[in-house]
């Protein structure tokens, strides 16, 4: 068994039947990660307890105790999810010394399933970015070409997965942060329905949009990891109590008669020719597999970027109020606390602790929520959001899954867009509406640009219907031919 190619199930079965130990698997991926990380900057920190955690799995197996479906599988976790006794920075200076006293529910569930946490993965600061360039810990690089961004905000997760310096990774997606980097790095990423996965212990960016999900190598691994992390959590009252399907067992390659919708609005407007070519090929393959292709329209997607940034920035300005230098995190180096005003204490700590993009979004959000502007911006965006959701629900009466590009272009160069916020925001044009409507969405690798950068396609399904997206993804995966190609780091 070649570890860098093996599926979660293969590794976990081998660990359970003692053909290989969890310690050996962990050692292999840690060594590989430590060797390749200096050129990628995908990991912010490694878990010094990883080997000890692997030993626990092995000793359970020795004693004949039950271990979960991810026994011995090495995971990298986006550094936005709290990990007990392991520093969690959110890519920010303001949390540069924060050691969580608890695990996020997603992390607890992975550990309960037998997974071993290798370390914490790079990201845009507080998940605010589309290129991983806003991280306080430096930009992460795309393994396919180190001059290019891996995407964001879960750039470290995508880079680590495509370089196989983790067997699987977890990302989060507020406006595309799982799907866009998956698309740029040639991996499979799924953002579940809002409410599927607990947000407990995940550093909040925009609470009505945030969801965590797997970023992995294959559709099968995505389905298995999803099964593990989904489900109601008493610690997050917005998690659904719906039963979690056995996604991995239910995967079907039969899409005969399935209705695939192509969004009229996502077929024009400066789409790169290689992206169009990949997308068209995906349409043809699904036709060949017996799916029925229909054109549909969600006119309000045209307004998704403004809606998204108005809502996300507003929620962020409120969520990030907690970073005040009092209970945890960075505090300015004040000489004399007694003669300081509380106001200056907060402002200076926050002014020094947050990076530029985060401050920009806090300012934008504060403005949108401030007296006199609330109705015109935040409230207006929430009203349009309801209309957008209704248009989507209408479309899903006529089709099962929507197919579209993930972004208008393949990965861009480091530094290319970072000086112009609006240009960077418009990068999210095809991904944000999924979060606004609370729908599940995924990115599946399907081709390459002429320059050799990966290109994926996006699948969107109706609420709680991740299975249909996974099934279509599985059909596309089988004919994509992309699995044979690997980034240069191998």
């Amino acid at each position: 068994m070649e570890l860098i190619q093996a599926s979660f199930k293969q590794v976990s079965d081998a660990v359970k039947s003692k053909k290989i130990s969890a310690v050996e698997v962990t050692k292999f991926f840690l060594a590989r990660a430590e060797k390749l990380n200096p050129q990628l900057n995908a990991y912010i920190a490694f878990n010094t307890e990883a080997m000890a955690e692997a030993e626990v799995i092995d000793s359970k197996i020795q004693k004949g105790e039950a271990v979960g479906p991810l026994a011995g599988v090495s995971f990298g976790i986006k550094d936005l999810l709290c990990t007990r006794d392991l520093r969690t920075t959110a890519g920010s200076k303001i949390l540069s010394n924060f050691i969580p006293p608890y695990d996020a529910t997603v992390v607890t569930r992975l550990k309960n399933a037998g997974a071993v946490v290798l370390g914490k993965l790079n990201l845009d600061e507080f998940a605010m970015g589309s290129s991983n360039e806003t991280s306080f810990y430096g930009p992460c690089r795309n393994p396919w070409n180190p001059e290019y961004v891996p995407g964001g905000s879960s750039g470290g997760s995508a880079a680590a997965q495509s370089a196989r310096i983790a067997m699987g990774t977890i990302g989060t997606d507020t406006g595309g942060s799982i799907r866009q980097p998956s698309n740029f790095c040639g991996i499979v990423g799924i953002k579940p329905t809002y409410g599927r996965v607990s947000r407990y212990g995940i550093v909040a960016y925009a609470s009505s949009l945030d969801q965590a999900g797997p970023m992995v190598s294959t559709v099968e691994d995505a389905a298995l990891a999803l099964e593990v992390i989904c489900g109601h959590d008493p610690k997050d009252s917005t998690t659904s109590q719906q039963k979690v399907p056995e996604f991995s067992k239910n995967i079907s390659n039969n899409v005969k008669g399935m209705k695939i919708g192509l969004l009229k609005e996502y077929q024009s407007g400066g789409i790169h020719e290689d992206t169009t070519e990949t997308y068209q090929r995906a349409v043809n393959e699904l036709k060949k597999a017996g799916a029925e292709i229909i054109e549909v329209s969600v006119p309000l997607t045209e307004f998704a970027v403004p809606m998204y940034y108005l809502i996300a920035a507003s929620e962020a300005s409120s969520n990030l109020a907690r970073y005040d230098g009092v209970k945890y995190g960075y505090r300015s180096d004040f000489k004399d606390l007694a003669s300081l005003s509380l106001e200056d204490f907060y402002s200076q700590t926050r002014g020094e602790g947050f990076g530029k993009e985060v401050k920009r979004r806090i300012m934008l959000g504060t403005y949108c929520l401030s007296s006199g502007y609330y109705d015109a911006y935040y409230n207006k965006a929430c009203q349009v959001r309801r209309l957008l959701r209704e248009q989507y629900l209408d479309v899903f009466k006529r089709c099962d899954v929507l197919l579209s590009p993930v972004t208008t272009t393949p990965a861009f160069k480091i530094g290319e867009k970072s000086s112009d916020p609006l240009k960077m925001y418009l990068n999210d044009i095809f991904t944000t509406s999924t979060n606004l409507a609370g729908l599940p969405g995924m990115s599946v690798p399907f081709g390459f640009s002429k320059q050799g950068l990966p290109i994926g396609v996006q699948l969107t399904a109706t609420h709680f219907n991740e299975q249909s997206a996974l099934n279509v993804a599985s059909v596309l995966e089988a004919v994509s031919g992309v699995q044979e190609r690997r980034p240069n780091v191998f």
């Binding site: 300081l340 509380l342 106001e343 300012m363």
Partner: protein
Amino acid sequence: MIDQKTIEHIAKLARLKVTADEAVEYGEQLTKVLAHFQQISKINTENIEPLVTPAEIEFYLRDDVAAPELKTEAMLKNAPDKAGNLFKVPPVV
């Protein structure tokens, strides 16, 4: 146009110290971004309830019973400055 006075006001509301250079930069950028975002104003939303939670979720309240949580010591471990079991801050009264 978001002028410097507005930027200062917003920064104060957000408890953010911004430098003079940052204030100019943010003023220009927010003006540009909001001008672009203004386009949503043309959508008719009369009598439309704002949407916050996008999926159908049966809201859940747990039973009001005491359960073991983190110990005081664990909660205080990350405090930048403390006195006994208290967080230390500048005078507030």
